[in-house]
């Protein structure tokens, strides 16, 4: 009877882990409780992992410990070291590892030839396919965002090739399910699935990568759930499915914030195309930091619009220092965040939080957009396309219809920018040419320092 007891302990622990995951994720959905949320989910993971060692009919314990040690330590060290600006690609990497692990489970089950019945064989093979695609696709996404792979790789008929590849992989999957085929077929199946992940991800441009990472995150969740069915592991089914559903919704929200459909992201490749530069009338008018300092110090309300360029210049600490100075003088300073500021939705909030900016002076687009009309100064630092008014006015523009921050409604617009080039999308920004816009040319961090000096000397 002792075996029954062990099994009960295991099942109860998995149940507890599933509960902790769900409540942990729930707490993560509010900034006040978020920190506790990840700790809850972490406790669930520890419980689930420890109790798995009690599983009867298992061997290879030394190898298991070694593998956990290797994977855990590598991930721990890399996770502690990664800079906040590089967070998106790190998430892609860890996500890919999860997909790979799901594929590995599928492979072991298929190689061992255990007969699970038709339904479970189908799920095992599908989980293997999805996990493999997520694995190789996430690695490509990582390489692209990390700058290891600069070029987008396309060849004529690529979409057609991908469809053929998908059909071939599914065909092999069907063959494996029905025929219980030999090792070679299974190996070819996984090779094709991995190749599919690579060729699917290669043509997608860097700007769209966050959406793709989010999609692969959802796919990994689904693969984990499928393998959970195969192993009859309720914790895996629940956690995998919750992530699959949550990830799908997050992917949709991100695509919507970028005014793109998911199909558009996956199959078009706007991410690095250069839009037809519609001629913009007028000229860019430069300004000195000292003048901007005066303008802001005597303003009632200043809205700061940060973009990824600010984070690259590591200017967020200086910007926060400037904000504190202005607030001490009684200026109402708020941060206006576009949904896709930074590299993915919410990334800018993380970067600002790193600099110590409290989240209650950081506002979403919907909350802040009506306030630009009453702002004396809109300070744009490192942002471009997300404040381009042509998204509202020019139906011919590739970004037409994208929700933007209405910075052009502010009484004065100051843009801190390195040079005169166009933005990430290659589209000319009409905001820079407006009569009440002034350009402050220079590195984000240096300019922020100069602004601090200018305000201090007043």
């Amino acid at each position: 009877m002792s075996i029954v007891n062990v099994e009960n302990v295991i099942e109860a622990s998995y149940f507890l882990a599933a509960v902790l995951f769900i409540f942990g994720l729930k707490r993560m959905s509010s900034p006040v409780t978020a920190r506790g949320g990840i700790v809850w989910a972490g406790a669930g993971m520890v419980v689930a992992t420890l109790v798995t060692f009690l599983n009867p009919n298992m061997g290879n314990y030394p190898l298991m410990m070694a593998a956990i040690g290797i994977g855990g330590i590598l991930a721990w060290v890399s996770g502690k070291r990664v800079a906040m600006t590089d967070m998106p690609q790190m998430i892609a990497l860890y996500n890919g590892m999860g997909g790979g692990a799901a594929a590995a489970i599928s492979a072991v089950e298929l190689f061992s030839g255990t007969d699970h019945g038709l339904t479970f064989s189908v799920l095992a093979v599908l989980g293997g396919l999805i996990g493999s695609v997520s694995f190789s696709g996430s690695l490509i996404a990582f390489a692209k965002l990390q700058g290891l792979m600069k070029k987008t790789f396309r060849f004529p008929g690529q979409q057609f090739f991908n469809i053929i590849l998908l059909v071939a992989t599914l065909g092999l999957a069907g063959y494996i399910v029905t025929q219980h085929s030999d090792i070679n077929i299974i190996v070819i199946f996984f090779a094709l699935a991995l190749l599919l992940g690579v060729t699917m991800t290669l043509p997608i441009g860097g700007a769209d990568m966050p959406v793709v990472i989010s999609l692969y995150n959802a796919l990994t969740g689904l693969a984990v759930a499928f393998e959970g069915f195969v192993l009859e592991n309720a914790a895996m089914i629940i956690a995998g499915t919750v992530v699959g559903a949550a990830g799908s919704l997050l992917t949709q929200l991100m695509a919507k914030a970028m005014n793109r459909s998911l199909a558009n992201v996956l199959f078009s490749g706007f991410g690095d195309t250069v839009g037809e530069a519609s001629a913009v009338e007028g000229s860019m008018k430069p300004i000195e930091a000292t003048d901007v300092g005066v303008m802001m110090a005597f303003a009632d309300k200043v809205l700061i619009v940060p973009g990824y360029g600010m984070a690259v210049a590591q200017a967020q600490h200086k910007v926060w220092e400037l904000t504190q100075l202005l607030r001490k003088r009684g200026v109402d300073v708020k941060f206006a965040i576009h949904p896709v500021a930074g590299r993915m939705p919410g990334h800018m909030n993380v970067l600002l939080a790193e600099a110590g900016v409290p989240y209650d002076i950081i506002y979403d687009q919907d909350e802040i957009n009506s306030e630009f009309a009453t702002a004396d100064v809109a300070l744009i630092i490192g942002a471009n396309d997300v404040v381009n008014p042509v998204a509202r006015t020019d139906p011919a523009s590739p970004i037409y219809g994208m929700p933007i921050l209405n910075a052009d409604y502010a009484k004065n617009v100051i843009v801190i920018k390195r040079g005169q080039g166009a933005g990430f999308s290659g589209i000319e920004n009409a905001l820079f040419f407006l009569d009440h816009t002034r350009m402050l040319y220079g590195d984000g961090q240096e300019m922020a320092s100069e602004l601090i000096q200018a305000v201090k000397t007043l």
Partner: protein, 97 residues
Amino acid sequence: MIDGFIALYIFMLAGFVGYEIIGRVPAILHTPLMSGSNFVHGIVLVGAMVALGRAETTLEVTIGFIGVVLGAGNAVGGYVVTERMLEMFKSSKEKKS
């Protein structure tokens, strides 16, 4: 254990839970939440451990071993980066009190 339809019910209900949890999340938490859900599917580590534990041939053991390394990487890495991000979220009121 878990038979077909029970599994289907679990799948459906868990799907709703995932959808509802994310539904009303402010955009400022999207990145940490994606990272957090990335951590949660690190539960794949448990499955990989079972797969390795049952593996017999050299091929199975090798793949199972790789699976556990990857699964552990997913779980640990996902936790570390999520925790680092969430740790930084502070309210201006917290400091004063």
